[in-house]
Symmetry: D2
Subunit: 338 residues, 4 copies
């Protein structure tokens, strides 16, 4: 941590900073500039300390971090890339993993029809929402537990892993029993009570980025999942909130390379939630694969017009088929496959 | 809802839109422009329907809402301003309600000392965090249930209501027993599982705005709280995430008048979390009162240097005293009092 | 335009809206809902009228556009995609056009060395800044007119078109004489005085997106360039300002497909200014090509360490060579070439 | 400047950083942490050097500034607050200066009527646009030079200074002759060619904040104006672009106290452009005065319905009168007057 003293800070104020650093067990080095004094606070655990603990002291103008606030998710402490194994499907390896299926499970027929189709096109994992966090209390809230059973049936019948979202602590056990990957949605990325419970599992967790979380906050939230020893964490980029209003969320395509630089965790991209409209999904999906994403999470519905949730952003089956055919040569062009 | 057809949309496509509107029980009126057809979909319940249900249809270019997606929080359906009564303290009336206290309850001594001081300066409610949602798993997480008991003791001893945050469903009952207002934090504004449970209570709830939620989303989340009949909802503005980096969050001062125009619910402002630094708290607090906020939520600590959480944004007691003295004439200037 | 009246608006207020619409020569259709009246204002020129002209009238709650505020840049009025021809190099056709070179021209040697190298790798156009808009008055401001002569020499010697930025009206003629494409930088996207002058030229213009301009504002600015008959307009996406702080600007990858849907103009992407760091340039560049961009604008410097401007975001020549080799198979995978 | 080396950076890489710092004439101090080395680069002129000059070197992970990139606008180098004198009207003193008038000058009658009314209510300066930067080329562009003459007549007749916007270099002389304050609009905040010319004048300049400029960028742009010796610079906050869509721009009320902390320049607030709607202007105006702004810039029109530009955000004269009556006790409450 770098503590910048205000111009004219007194010796006592500087000493106060030094003493506080010592009280945390950190080392200190003073940099006496012509205008200002800068106190460098050193030690591998400074990332865990709050900058506020120093910024609050008299005579301090600004405090900047050197060590990142996350540790377990950081590549500095874990240089080798993590590969998450979902019943034999590897996320973070050479194969680009396509997860596809309906936003919400609406019926056994709808789920089965979609699962069969997406598997046939090369999808490696089936998605389907059982519990739906909806912005309006008047909207469809999901089939809940009966949807879990349908997902379970699909994974057995088609031999394909399934992913579904967990929205509260109460349902963790039920979901863990019926699904292969538990997804934490964007709105829950900083639901720390939920993250702490999930950390106790050994199931793979997909942690979606909050739509206004920085990459640093996202990786710090991942630390919650990793804290109790669960190493099966996948990151999910799904667009961020910006001023641009032609699209629901702006896909932060750069986060793929930023994550690859600073973290060892695999990252997948959800073009459907970013786009909010099926017309934009293919372009974003192709960009994500070319940029180096380890997979995609795509909403597919046999009849988007009749979808109970997010039909507008869902691809119908022919459009999904077409997209998969377009994605494969791009994956090949960058030395991967689908 | 206004459905704009693409240029050259066919009669069949227009009819398809009309039929869908009829299937929801809505009325329809066609507007045949020279370039485009516009279908107006009318009815008081169109706010509950998703725009996607129409946007997904072939030949549709864009769908715009007329009715807002929230209803119970809307002034259209409830023209009179709501006053929330907290054991005799009215929020939304002529008095500007100051809620003050430590970010986190750290000890009985710290809480009592602060409560005594802030009450002495004119604060109407004492705040204090028992359960703390922290961005890093390595940070202090609050004294939890023992803090609730300290809050309970303070409210009895000083005869002043207390407010504290609820972070998960499990602890709702315990908090409802010991506190007068339950606060939903910004990160939980769209934790719908939590909101649904709180809706069953009859306790006043402070719903803080998510730091990247629009005003419309905030009021739609308030509808969750109001849906089961709890009318005791207070809105809490605490700044939004923007590109500006000199301050933690940008205080959206305009939201006060926007809320007053579109909703009947009272609104208070938290200058401490927006500022992130005590130096900016007084200016924002004064602005909020002048702009018409019904109250303030201010962090005060007897010794900010030693605070376990957010010391940097906490006022010490002399600074809080000074601020209260400055706020009173402003309240008077706009015809209110503190 | 759709004018939503407030609940309880009077007949007189509605008539007032209708009369105003008629005074502009627009047609009107009334939609009498159960809760509210909606006035549809129809006509192909409504895009040119300000929504304010109606929003300001008593009893009006909200006004929404149907026709976009831009017209000349719109695909509705010009369905066929525009191909801009730069001395035989076609932008918007099947070839993905790579423009590469130094941020600022620093010397004849630096420019020539870079031009030779990038042409050798397959770049179709050479870039180089002569006039530099710098955020600080203490920074290097460009070699100005002497740089223009170096660019001119390069285009003659290597038979390759050159692009450079125009920052004020005074230098338009000099730049038009020595360069093939005139670039309007992000900070000048809404410098309407400059756009009006450029509209009188017949040179290709690259209009970079302002870093906080919406796509709609960007296309409306393009209308300024097209208004006097110059049809040679290329759009340049270079990232937008968001809250994310790991990168200089967030590349808005979705804008490529949004632009392709709503406009006939070609679009190129500048990964260098978005990234702000060379490490992120290749990933963004690959994404842009896969997403359907018609070209890229990449900063290359023979020795980035010694660059006077933006060295951090510049690729050195070996890294540019490597990137070009990676981009070619991606272009091929989507049916294009470089 | 603080240069953070990557974990495992070599001695040669560290030496390279040190040598570069020495080459700029800076001092260096090394901080050898257990995990990383941090190089502190010291000297009062480090603010003028680009962080890129170090970030580009091999083995460097991150570079943070200590000295701000602006200098002349900084309170560190000019501790005393600046008072700008506009023909006897002091901006930055105890009086809160209200500048009011039409967005665009439309006729002599309109301007005179407005000027008379606003002066009568206590406005100290009259505003009126002669040259209008409009987002669409089809919109009214201002009366230009004939408007300047009307402004000149008003200032003579009413003995009140006038402010108008300058949009290009060509018209600086004409405007300087007829107006007392030259306003640089938000879209031109980083039009450096324009700023450099204005720096040569001795007229007061109002520099509006770009709607997506940080406070740091704003003050750095002010350095352009101050660089040639013009000390008469006023800052103008007018809202920033955010995701919130209920209002045109989000008023960054916090910037008032941030500016007061880091700069000696006076700051005024424009609630009209932020709000975009007259209904929100009074609340924001009151907040700005309470927060410590040195003045306000308010759009007033005798008949907003008929305004050619921005009628929706203009107050009519009775509403302006009412607002002035409300502002005066607030100014008094904070020890100032209007």
């Amino acid at each position: 941590m770098i503590v910048e003293m205000a111009k004219g800070a007194s010796k006592e104020q500087i000493n106060h900073v030094v003493e506080r650093a010592h009280s945390f067990g950190f080392e200190v080095q003073l940099n006496l500039g012509t205008e200002k004094t800068v106190v460098a606070i050193l030690g591998s655990d400074t990332g865990k300390a709050s900058t506020d603990a120093f910024a609050v002291l008299p005579g301090v103008e600004h405090v900047a971090r050197i060590m990142k606030p996350y540790k377990l998710a950081s590549r500095e402490f874990h240089p080798q890339s993590t590969i998450v194994n979902v019943n034999g499907v590897e996320i973070g390896g050479q194969r680009v993993i396509i997860m596809a299926g309906p936003c919400a499970v609406e019926s056994e027929k709808q789920l089965t029809e979609t699962a069969k189709a997406v598997k046939g096109c090369g999808a490696a994992i089936v998605r389907g929402g059982a519990f739906k966090p909806r912005t309006s209390p008047f909207s469809f809230q999901g089939l809940e537990k009966s949807a879990l059973k349908m997902l379970d049936k699909v994974r057995t019948e088609f031999g394909i892993p399934v992913i579904t979202e967990v929205v509260d602590i109460q349902n963790i056990d039920a979901i863990a029993k019926h699904a292969d990957i538990l997804q934490v949605g964007a709105r829950n990325m900083q639901n720390f009570a939920l993250l702490k419970e999930l950390s106790k599992l050994r199931h793979p967790i997909l942690l979606k980025r909050g739509f206004s979380a920085t990459v640093t906050e996202w990786l710090t939230a991942a630390d919650y999942l990793l804290a109790e020893g669960n190493q099966q964490v996948i990151l999910g980029e799904r667009g961020i909130r910006t001023f641009e209003d032609s699209i629901r969320f702006s896909m932060d395509i750069s986060s793929i390379s930023v994550i690859k630089r600073f973290s060892h965790l695999p990252i997948i991209v959800d073009p459907s939630h970013a786009a909010g409209h099926f017309a934009y999904v293919p372009s974003i999906a192709k960009a994500a694969v070319a940029a180096g994403a380890d997979g995609l999470l795509i909403e597919v519905h046999p009849n988007p017009e009749e979808a109970k949730v997010d039909g507008l952003q869902s691809l119908n089956i022919p459009n999904f088929e077409k997209l998969m055919a377009e994605l494969k040569p791009i994956a090949k062009a960058i030395g991967r496959y689908i």
